[in-house]
């Protein structure tokens, strides 16, 4: 365990000296928290209005009966931007892992590291946690700020209950880390094939596309991120993560790293 914590601390000491990574970890969650709060702020006066015609039918059905149509619009807008809290754990690990792996390659520090008694599993866990922990913490912190901010803006227990449903807590607490694990392991795979952290970042950013499609699809009214979709996403993510970890473990063998990585 000491080896894992040593590597994690080393990773953080190293990557957080890079302004680009530090700004991503700080400003991205801030921005992604500010956007839904701003939307709620501008929609704060809609509570008493009749906006039934502006609400997509599938959302109107899911909207609680004790909410007015104006309040329903507030909930809908909040829900649409909730996806941003799923993007934070995808984007931050890409940055950290890309710089971490490609950085080790460019400075050629992997070989002396692999020559120590650390196991490749310990090393992989350390690299994963070093990227996942900041992303998950940033997501949780951002969500708490969002909940507090939303309460200050809305000040309606009914709207708040509809806005911050248990399913969203589940998304932030469970799906967030699953997304971060997917992101970091995908980034490790990409980083093993390239020698420039920016290229690694750009290629790894592909992992965001499915979520972006969900975000756009929901805004376009094509579908709704509801409990059923969240459950399906969770199961799919567990399967993909297992597959990713399997491939990452295979890729993270000493001989593979030293002889096959470019």
């Amino acid at each position: 365990m000491k080896k894992v914590t040593t590597i994690i601390r080393k990773e953080w000491a190293e990557v957080f000296k890079k302004k680009l990574i530090l700004s991503t970890v700080i400003f991205l969650p801030l921005m992604f928290t500010a956007i839904p709060l701003a939307m709620l702020f501008f929609a704060r006066d809609a509570g008493s209005s009749d906006l039934t015609s502006d609400i997509p039918p599938q959302f109107l059905q899911s909207c609680q009966s004790d909410l007015s149509s104006g309040e329903c619009v507030q909930v809908m807008m909040g829900n649409q931007f909730m996806i941003l809290f799923m993007m934070i754990p995808l984007i931050i690990p890409v940055n950290i892992a890309a710089y971490s792996i490609v950085g080790e390659k460019t400075t050629r520090s992997l070989e002396p590291l692999l020559a120590t008694p650390i196991t490749t599993i310990e090393l992989l866990i350390a690299k994963n946690l070093a990227a996942v922990i900041p992303a998950v913490l940033a997501t949780w912190l951002a969500f708490i700020v969002y909940v507090v901010g939303a309460w200050v803006i809305i000040q309606s227990p009914n709207v708040m209950a509809a806005l911050v449903k248990p399913s969203w807590w589940f998304v932030v607490i469970i799906v967030g880390p699953l997304l971060a694990i997917l992101s970091v392991n995908f980034s490790i795979m990409v980083s093993s094939r390239v020698n420039d952290p920016r290229v690694a970042e750009q290629l790894s950013a592909v992992v965001i596309l499915p979520l972006l499609a969900i975000f756009i699809g929901q805004i376009a009214g094509l579908f709704l991120v509801n409990q059923q979709l969240i459950l399906i996403m969770t199961i799919v993510l567990i399967l993909i993560d297992s597959l990713m970890i399997y491939f990452a473990v295979r890729l993270f063998q000493r001989e593979t790293i030293l002889t096959r990585w470019k």
Binding site: K10, A13, R108, R254
Partner: protein, 320 residues
Amino acid sequence: MAAIETYHLTKKFDQTVAVDDLSIQIDRGEVFGFLGPNGAGKTTTIRMLTSLIGPTSGRAVVNGYTVGEENRSIRRSVGILTETPGMYDNLSAEYNLRVYGNLYEVKDVQGQVEKYLRLLGLWERRNDEVGTFSKGMKQKLAIARALLHEPSILFLDEPTAALDPEAARLVRDFIVFLREEGRTFFLSTHNLNEADRLCDRIAVFKTQLLVLDTPAKLRSQAFGRKVVFHLRTNDPKYLEAINALHVSSDVQQVENKIVVTLENPEQNNPFIIQTLVNAGAEIQFVGELRRSLEDVYLQLVQNTSNDEHHSRSKPNDFVD
């Protein structure tokens, strides 16, 4: 028990043979030189012996532990200086070493870090980022890293490559210092003078082991010793007179010098001198033409290349 033993050690990458049938034994406390051209398989051999990669066939035992079976024990008991220092440039020298102290399970990390930073003259710069260090300082720091856990065997891959002469000398002096502590060294180098000065035995390697002996024996016994007789005048009859003695099959005349390759010059020289004097030669002086390790190395490597190209032409190794 030998420090390192290999038995028919072979490594293939797909169809390419990187190391072929290497069998060596290295004694404890020995400084073992491993010479070879680029791509000869030196780094692959070091990687196998430090359990970074596995052999395709054959067996290796390092510090009593079998490669492929007791890899973690091997890694705990050996130190490695890789071809490039591979330090974390954004972190301080002390932090770099502390990371490795923890990874090598060193009990007194702070004590060991301080010991080697002081020993290598880096203590005053301990808080500076390694990125600000010169190549020589980085190399010294990498040596400190390799020694933190007090390994009994050290693998050094090109330890003075890309260093200026002063930094290279500092590194060599440190190797001599460590050698006196009784550690075993496996030194891969291109620097033949370095190998000549530091190593107890030298292996010349190019995918296969070409030769293995002490530097002195490599220079002499395996290739014969050349004695040069400087004469006042040049006459073919002198050459004929020496050839008539049948002490050597390699007698050459270059201007007014006669070069004779001899197995035992101490025994043969008096007869040759007497023969030359009897033939009317005036001998100005006699000297032994010392072959450098570089000559030996180049001849071996060149011979291998020629063999590979199915050419048997003998290299011209005569230089006065």
